[in-house]
């Protein structure tokens, strides 16, 4: 026995255990807190790393299983017999990776039973699911003799399974053919989301052909890596045979892919020099073109070096291809970039690491290879003294402890990652409006009698002191400072005044549950819609944008910092826009409406705009005038149309029946509203 410690194996195993540790913790969090906090997935990129890498690539990498099984059992090329067990094991583990990846990715994996009872034969994913389940079972049966052969009691089963090898292999090949291509079929439904360089009706055959090439490459790579790990000579004759076959399949793939682009007239996309064209050529070069050439290099020209690189490139290139089809090519159309979250990435790595450990375990304990590798990492001295037969114990730091330590270090990193993720990305984006602050203000009527002014008296230190503020003077009111832009520019909001005006305690719902029921905070613009209305004469957002270069944009118009940020407190338009008609300009209006003064926005809207609009709308043949209805702006007063009109000194719609009824021939919503006995706030809806 080689007593020297194999550092390669030792470090590799520790690393694998470390990644398993990271993934374990993250997986626990993913199942308790959901996908939102553990992934970067969104409604626009619903599939990410786990589908693109674990599922799509896992299945493709497992293609070696059916390709080698076909080579040995169907084409009866006996010289590949030595690697068939390893290839089947790789395939089985690849499918396990797919299943674990799917379990993590499915939002409701506990509903998986429903696949067996609710068949949707039109769903490519149903085909995928069935193939995964059946083929994993076939692979397990194909591999089972290797696991059972050392047990005496299992010999009948082993003999039976050996007899069934050929039927199992053929079933496996049929299932694999369907399965590899069905992963391509999956994306046939996503035509609207995919870049034309990747979307083609030929996706299913392309997936199948590339899987065959990839399977050949993967078996070669796996042979090369494990022989490096266990310091033994790779099976060169088999590997060079496999890679030479792969080069033919790769050539076929390149031809079909390019030919299809030309046939469909989409080749222009590959030549337009865009980022996606570059990506396409990088993918084609890595996955197929370069490996096909490398695999064909004669051995005297560094053939082994070329085979190593070719196998690595084709595997990496086709993983890139699957990721492109599954995600990156969608960004071109949806415009929604997706970068996997670290937690997502580590789950993927953890699954691969875990299966790597299982692979090594099987290789060391079962006859996967023709010669079982030695385990120099397990003992640095014998556990039992060979002379006295006395147990002297495993070394103080055996493989178990090493694994546990690596796992624990990984778990700690997992916790840190999850914490960072949950505290930053997992939470809702910072609310643009900070929590309001309570303040006490003094309210004084404006000299011109239009509205009130607020003077900020003080800000109570605590909520308790706010509530307990003695309010002797009725003009002293509680108010709320609301952060308007998240930049510390507060708007003084007279909460009490709003409450009183809207009808006391019962009116809470009008703001706190307005357009969006159960919404926590209704923003000002929900009621003061004119502020941001695109149809308005004044576009607030545009002014904010125009003045964003100023140090304090609000003050440009709302000159008095302490005053309420409303229209009456702001500068008049003509103080900046000199050429427009100043206030108190006499406006001549067509028709019988009074020529008069429009002293403020409210008056202007009520006296001029609405009148004109109503005429205009009725003339246009609107069934009901829209802008001229009180409730268009006073939306909380829906149902009180008539009342409001009377208060405003406006003619009630019933007083002008000719205007409306003559045109419509049916009662209007306004009338129905006025006739209905419903109380204020009740919505009256036309049938």
């Amino acid at each position: 026995m080689n007593t020297a410690v194999n550092n390669r194996l030792l470090v590799t195993k520790a690393a694998l255990w470390f990644f398993v540790g990271v993934a374990t913790v993250i997986a626990v969090v993913r199942f308790t807190l959901g996908l939102g906090v553990t992934t970067a997935l969104t409604d626009f990129t619903p599939w990410g790393m786990w589908i693109g890498f674990d599922v799509l690539s896992g299945v493709a990498l497992a293609a070696g299983g059916f390709v080698i099984a076909a080579t040995v059992h169907i084409f009866r090329l006996e010289r590949y017999h030595g690697i068939v067990r390893a290839a089947i094991l790789t395939a089985f583990l690849g499918y396990l990776a797919v299943i674990i990846g799917l379990m993590v990715d499915l939002g409701r994996p506990w509903n998986l039973w429903s696949v067996f009872f609710n068949w949707n034969l039109h769903s490519p994913l149903f085909e995928v699911a069935m193939c995964v389940i059946l083929y994993t079972a076939v692979l397990a049966l194909e591999f089972a003799p290797v696991g059972l052969e050392s047990f005496r009691w299992a010999q009948p089963a082993v003999r039976l399974l050996r007899k069934l090898t050929l039927p199992l292999v053929i079933t496996g090949i049929c299932l694999s053919t369907l399965h590899q291509s069905s992963l391509g079929t999956l994306f046939l439904l996503s035509e609207g989301r995919m870049h034309p360089l990747w979307y083609t009706p030929l996706l299913p055959p392309l997936f199948l052909i590339s899987a065959i090439a990839l399977g050949l490459g993967m078996v070669s790579l796996e042979g090369l890596v494990s022989s490096w790990l266990y310091k033994r000579e790779p099976e060169w004759p088999q590997i060079s045979g496999l890679t030479r076959a792969a080069s033919i399949v790769l050539g076929l793939y390149v031809g079909l892919r390019i030919g299809d682009l030309i046939w469909r007239g989409q080749i222009g996309w590959a030549l337009d020099g865009s980022w996606y064209a570059t990506l396409f050529w990088i993918e084609m070069a890595l996955s197929a073109i370069v490996p096909a050439v490398l695999f064909r290099l004669p051995e005297r020209h560094g053939g082994r070096w070329a085979v190593r690189w070719g196998a690595f490139l084709t595997v990496a290139g086709f993983v890139l291809n699957r990721v492109n089809v599954g995600g990156i090519s969608h960004i071109a159309i949806t415009g929604e970039a997706y970068v996997p979250a670290l937690t997502e990435l580590f789950i993927s790595i953890g699954i691969v690491a875990g299966l790597g450990l299982i692979f090594l375990f099987f290789v060391e304990n079962l006859n996967v290879w023709e010669k079982r590798p030695e385990r120099p990492d397990r003992f640095t001295r014998p556990a039992v003294d060979p002379i006295s037969s006395q147990f002297i114990g495993s070394p103080w730091f055996g493989s178990g402890q090493r694994a546990a330590l690596a796992w624990a270090v990984g778990a700690v990193l997992g916790l840190i990652l999850v914490e960072a993720q949950v505290s930053q990305r997992g939470q809702p984006r910072a609310n643009p409006v900070r929590s309001p602050r309570n303040v006490v203000v003094e309210v004084t009527p404006r000299l011109d009698g239009k509205g009130h002014e607020f003077d900020w008296i003080h800000q109570p230190a605590t909520l308790a002191s706010f509530t307990n503020t003695e309010v002797e003077n009725p003009s002293i009111q509680k108010a709320v400072l609301i952060d308007s832009g998240g930049a510390g520019r507060f708007v003084l909001f007279a909460h009490a005044a709003h409450q009183k005006r809207l009808g006391g305690e019962a009116s809470c719902g009008q703001c706190h549950h307005r357009n969006v029921p159960l919404d926590r905070g209704t923003s000002c613009v929900r009621c003061h819609r004119d502020m941001y209305r695109l149809t308005d004469t004044f576009d607030h957002a545009r002014h904010v944008t125009a003045h964003r270069v100023d140090k304090d944009p609000c003050v440009v118009c709302h000159a008095d910092r302490a005053a309420a940020k409303n229209r009456s407190g702001s500068k008049s338009c003509d103080s900046c826009h000199k050429p427009i008609a100043p206030l108190l300009t006499k406006v001549k209006v067509k028709g019988t409406y009074p020529i008069g003064v429009a002293p403020g926005y409210k008056q202007a809207l009520h006296s001029l705009c609405i009148h004109c609009h109503r005429e205009h709308e009725l003339a246009e043949g609107f069934k009901e005038p829209v802008l001229s209805r009180c409730t268009t702006c006073h939306r909380d007063q829906f149902g009180n149309e008539t009342e409001m009109r009377v208060q405003a000194g406006w003619p009630s719609p019933t007083e002008q029946p000719l205007d409306i009824q003559a045109r419509l021939g049916s009662p209007t919503a306004i009338e129905r509203a006025s006739k209905s006995s419903a109380g204020p706030g009740t919505k009256v809806t036309p049938q």
């Binding site: 959901g34 409604d43 939002g107 409701r108 490519p124 609207g192 045979g241 969006v516």
Partner: protein
């Protein structure tokens, strides 16, 4: 059964969002929280907001929600038929069998399907045309169309609404764009629009073909049994041929002299390679 639909006339919408409020109330879809990272803004379509108002050019408002395609990509995608087209035209959802695979989100050409990302037991969320309430007779029409104060969005039989849409376009030819969105797109949808502004920016991508989304995949899936049998038969056949050739070669080798064996072996290996590589 009649196939029902919703017709939205963009020229009549005043953007009041009463439909949004009514939808939330009827479906109890929950509060719009501050926007999560997967939302562009809290007022966009989300798992709590199954319909919303989007801004179109020229100050127009467009209500967006599930289009209820006649042959929907999402229903074809769902492996367990948790999403299903009902006889009445609605695309309904059954969370009790849903796997949460999100393939429906991938297959929606309009990107109207939403997911409860913040939940550990997530459901797919989208407009279901108040299907259950209407079927049970508790509602005559969806909450949104009932709530609309300007009749900008109305509910009715699809045929009748298509006729009404064309009637409106014909009645005022200068006013509307001569196109009924949803009449032919992706094989037709149950949520149709007429408008005086182009709706390309408001949920009707220009690239939509008139072919239903599932068609291509269905064509491939229909070949599955044939593929399975063909591949199986081919494998059995190849195995039989190769085995027979090997047996004959072995027998021939037995019969001839020992010094000739090397040549036969070499010939056999060559034929094997040709077989293996040509497959």
């Amino acid at each position: 059964m009649k196939s029902f639909a919703i017709l939205t006339d963009v020229t009549k919408c005043i953007g009041c969002e009463d439909c949004v409020a009514a939808c939330k109330k009827a479906n109890d879809s929950g509060a719009d929280d501050a926007p999560w990272k997967w939302q562009s803004e809290a007022t966009g379509l989300s798992s709590t907001r199954w319909t919303t108002i989007e801004r179109a050019p020229e100050g127009r408002f467009v209500r967006v929600h599930c289009r209820h395609c006649l042959d929907p990509g999402c229903a074809a995608a769902c492996p367990v038929s948790a999403l299903k087209v009902t006889a009445e035209g609605a695309v309904a959802y059954d969370p009790s069998i849903c796997l949460g695979c999100r393939y429906c989100l991938m297959a929606c050409p309009f990107v109207m399907t939403r997911y409860e990302w913040e939940s550990a037991n997530p459901r797919v969320r989208k407009c279901i045309l108040c299907y259950e309430e209407i079927k049970a007779g508790r509602m005559k029409q969806p909450a949104c169309t009932k709530a609309c104060p300007t009749e900008a969005t109305i509910f009715g039989e699809r045929k009748a609404l298509l006729a009404e849409a064309h009637r409106r376009i014909d009645a005022e030819p200068g006013k509307y764009i001569d196109h009924v969105w949803g009449e032919h797109e992706v094989g037709g949808t149950s949520v149709i629009y007429i408008s005086d502004v182009d709706l390309t920016a408001a949920g009707w991508p220009a690239r939509l073909s008139e072919r239903p989304v599932p068609e291509l995949a269905t064509r491939v899936l229909n070949t599955v049994p044939a593929t399975f049998l063909t591949v199986g038969a081919a494998m059995v056949g190849i195995n039989w041929v190769v085995k027979r050739r090997q047996t004959i070669a072995a027998e021939t080798a037995k019969q001839i002299n020992t010094h000739a064996e090397g040549e036969v072996d070499a010939a056999e290996t060559d034929s094997e390679r040709t077989n293996g590589e040509g497959s």
